[in-house]
Symmetry: C2
Subunit: 127 residues, 2 copies
């Protein structure tokens, strides 16, 4: 399984992809910053990443998940620093022969991302 991981302080630009002849399912997920935290309107979230570890942990998670749910390619881009409301903090693309394994990998990946990867929301900016 091809794995591409990027951590960036810049707005996420999903890379152009040309699926292979045996790709039957392309699944893309974007996690956006929402405009409120509880009752409070916000304009941005601040993400912090521990870069030396985050890329390594992301790759380990994806390699394990790829063994359980064989897909063809996974692309993960996580933004850090200040991310404005309405913009993605994370982009994930999964390419697979069928949709079942792609959905399973994406769902499991997002769970593990939240608990195991050293990327944190450290502050919010009130409106």
């Amino acid at each position: 399984m091809d794995i591409a991981i990027a951590l960036t302080p810049d707005p996420i630009q999903p890379p152009i992809h040309s699926p292979g002849r045996e790709t039957g399912a392309v699944l893309e997920f974007q996690g956006l910053v929402r405009g409120s935290e509880g009752e409070v309107a916000i304009s941005a979230l601040q993400y912090e990443v521990y870069e030396p570890m985050a890329g390594k942990v992301l790759r380990e998670i994806l390699e394990k998940l790829g063994a359980a749910h064989p897909c063809q390619a996974v692309t993960v881009i996580h933004r850090y620093g200040l991310v404005p409301v309405g913009e993605p903090a994370i982009f994930v693309r999964v390419e697979s022969a069928h949709r079942g394994e792609g959905l399973a990998l994406l769902e499991e990946f997002m769970k593990q991302l939240k608990t195991a990867v050293p990327i944190w929301k450290v502050a919010s900016v009130k409106c």
Copy 2:
């Protein structure tokens, strides 16, 4: 839940979307035509749709699923006629506050699409 459905003989162009302030998850799925059927290499699949029913059934399915898994918006575009290998026959976008309900809706929608909607693969074109 906003529902947009299109059936088209033309290549699918995912519409531009501007998520609302409370959208936290955007999920997109493309189902592509793969380059083989069993052991046989193909160059395209021919889809046939019974248009008077297909749009109606798609809407009914989405309305029911939206009640079970409340999302903000769903866009479905299904292509018919000849769809070349590597191109999408279907595009689905789900926008929701959190990813859980979006994933649940997408997964269930794709299952029901295959069994309940009058759209069929009627022929394949050998290479």
